[in-house]
């Protein structure tokens, strides 16, 4: 870059020899805020010769040095008409001096003055994220408060969701028909929180089937959920006071392969003709195939998943569908576990805050007051 500047200076006299441009003035620096001291902003006032069409200025070179007297190195450049650059090659807490050189066909003119010492420093808080911090902290406080109070035995109120009644009704109908119940806990591994929710629901389903003396069949796709599903079903039979009826073969390991799993479950549906199909967990493209095959057998179907893309297929083919969060709510309600109930209540409270924010914010915006919107802006 320096060589380029020098070359331009050398070439200039040979051509029509316009005068060297007047220098840029009032170079100023500012530490870039909200970073780890990795950059400095530099601004200047354009050379009086830098006007469109005049062609006297081609670019500005920004030079840096660690001492007032140089040596100077070019660190950045800007084309004519631009009055700022950001130097991202600085080391933090190091003083630098800057000057700006105006380059044109007539030569290169260094600015009369330089600026410095300029130092880039680190900040401890990114102020543009204050709203995210505030709202996140508020939400976490709600969740932790409710988890704590649930642990201390003060069980917060959670309404019974209709999906749970639908599950019980389906099991009842299967019992009347003298047919088994099929439970599918999704096709994901245990690291998907939906699988956990599905397995929690399985325990109370098993409790009901034990009470009604209806066989249950649980095909599982991964080893760890398989082991947990066995525990859950056994626990359900134990809670119902019928541990002797628990059949270890009711939970079977199938395959993590999506289509192989579907084929196996469809086989169970067509062979054993369960009276009720309960799908609770994380589902992907196979939701469609399961719901369709299940629908064609005439069984009562209840589904629940938080995978939004798959919900439409369950909604149209099932008698009842737990939508999104309802899956978690059902598992919290059924298990009564403090961590689940607490999270649910915390989310409920922050939802009221959101509703309030939206109502107030829309009113303010309608009257042309933008303060709240600007405070929440993060982009």
């Amino acid at each position: 870059m320096l060589a380029l500047g020098a070359a331009l200076a050398l070439v200039a006299p040979v051509s029509a020899a316009p005068p060297a441009p007047q220098p840029a003035t009032r170079l100023d620096w500012k530490d870039v805020p909200n970073d780890a001291g990795r950059a400095l902003d530099l601004t200047w006032v354009l050379s009086p010769d830098d006007k469109p069409g005049l062609g006297l200025v081609t670019q500005y070179l920004v030079e840096r040095s660690t001492s007032v007297g140089g040596p100077w190195t070019v660190v950045d450049s800007a084309s004519a008409g631009a009055d700022k650059v950001t130097d991202e090659s600085v080391r933090r807490n190091t003083p630098y001096y800057y000057r700006v050189v105006t380059v044109g066909p007539g030569g290169a003119t260094p600015a009369g003055s330089l600026t410095g010492p300029a130092t880039a420093t680190s900040q401890w808080l990114d102020t543009t994220r204050a709203s995210v911090l505030a709202l996140t902290a508020l939400f976490f406080a709600f969740v932790l408060y409710y988890i704590r109070s649930a642990q201390m035995g003060k069980k917060p109120f959670v309404r019974r969701i209709p999906g749970i009644d639908a599950i019980e009704e389906a099991i009842g109908r299967a019992t009347e028909m003298g047919r088994p119940v099929l439970f599918v806990p999704g096709i994901q591994d245990i690291d998907d929180i939906q699988t956990v929710a599905g397995l929690v629901i399985l325990e109370s389903v098993a409790r009901l089937t034990a009470r009604y003396e209806t066989p249950i069949s649980v095909p599982v796709s991964y080893p760890i959920p398989f082991a947990i599903a066995q525990e859950m079903v056994r626990g359900g039979y134990l809670q119902a006071g019928r541990p002797e009826q628990y059949n270890p073969d009711s939970v079977r390991f199938v395959s993590p392969e999506q289509f192989a799993y579907v084929a196996a479950v469809a086989g169970i549906m067509l062979r054993d003709r369960p009276g009720a199909h309960i799908f609770m967990g994380s589902f992907y493209a196979e939701s469609l195939l399961l719901a369709e095959t299940g629908f064609s057998t005439g069984a009562i179907q209840v589904a629940g998943t938080a995978n939004v893309h798959q919900l439409p297929f369950f909604v149209v083919a099932c008698d009842y569908t737990l939508i999104g969060e309802e899956l978690y709510a059902a598992s919290a309600y059924l298990s009564g576990e403090p961590k689940l109930v607490g999270s649910l209540k915390g989310a409920d409270l922050i939802k009221l805050v959101i509703v309030g924010l939206v109502v107030v914010g829309c009113a303010l915006e309608s009257f042309g007051v933008h303060g709240l919107t600007q405070w929440m802006a993060t982009q």
Binding site: L288, P312, V316, A317
Partner: protein
């Protein structure tokens, strides 16, 4: 060591990640960056584990002559061959003209694409056999689905071109060229968008609460399994 140390590691690292979002200072930023660089490496190793597991299960099945063992043999041979060729071919193993690239272009790529294309057939048959409109809710779902499906493709607009001539709803600002596609775009922009945002926010709260529980060691389901 068996439970406490992993819980402490998760808590420490999780908090560091959250802090690094709010605190730009190098005291937080540099360790966070190192941990993020480390996670990539550990995650890559986990695939070797997955491959080894797949081999173990299938070789076991071949050895015991389980039903379909011959297919398991296909799986094992193709896995081993693909890895071996890839390792031998070196850094640019996916460059034009390499055997690994041929395998990618002519085995992996067409089979993967076709697997997912099967779904088009299943969706058509499910539309016929398992789409029940018996309630107002299901009716709304069906109406929205039909409008969106037809409004998003050229044929829908050709079929509704006659609407173009009509001056609909003398409401100022309402677009006059009322094609099916304009209605489709309105559904996407207004009612579906509002509901999607509600779902999005609800899901975000769920993920954040889970994240908090995992970091604080309240949620341990990921540690389940053998102790």
């Amino acid at each position: 060591m068996k439970r406490e140390l992993p819980l402490t590691i998760t808590a420490g690292i999780g908090l560091l990640m959250i802090l690094s979002f709010f605190v730009p200072h190098q005291v937080i930023a540099v360790p966070a960056d190192f941990i993020q660089a480390s996670a990539i490496i550990v995650l890559a190793f986990s695939y070797f584990l997955g491959g080894a597991n797949l081999l173990r299960v299938n070789i076991d099945g071949i050895y015991k002559r389980e039903p379909g063992w011959i297919y398991k043999l296909v799986l094992v041979v193709s896995l081993v061959a693909t890895v071996a060729i890839g390792f031998v071919e070196g850094k640019g193993f996916l460059d034009q003209g390499r055997i690994s690239k041929w395998i990618y272009d002519n085995l992996y790529s067409p089979m993967q694409a076709t697997m997912f294309a099967l779904l088009a057939f299943f969706i058509a048959s499910a539309a016929f056999r398992a789409f029940r409109i018996r309630t107002l809710e299901a009716g709304l779902l069906a109406a929205a689905a039909l409008i969106v499906m037809m409004g998003r493709v050229p044929l829908g607009n050709v079929l509704t071109d006659w609407l173009f001539g009509l001056r609909w709803l003398p409401f100022p600002g309402v677009p006059h060229d009322l094609h099916l596609s304009t209605i489709q775009e309105w559904i996407m922009d207004v009612p579906q968008n509002a509901a999607k945002r509600a779902i999005l926010i609800g899901a975000a709260l769920g993920v954040m609460a889970t994240g908090l529980r995992v970091i604080l060691g309240i949620e341990r389901s990921y540690l389940s399994g053998e102790d």
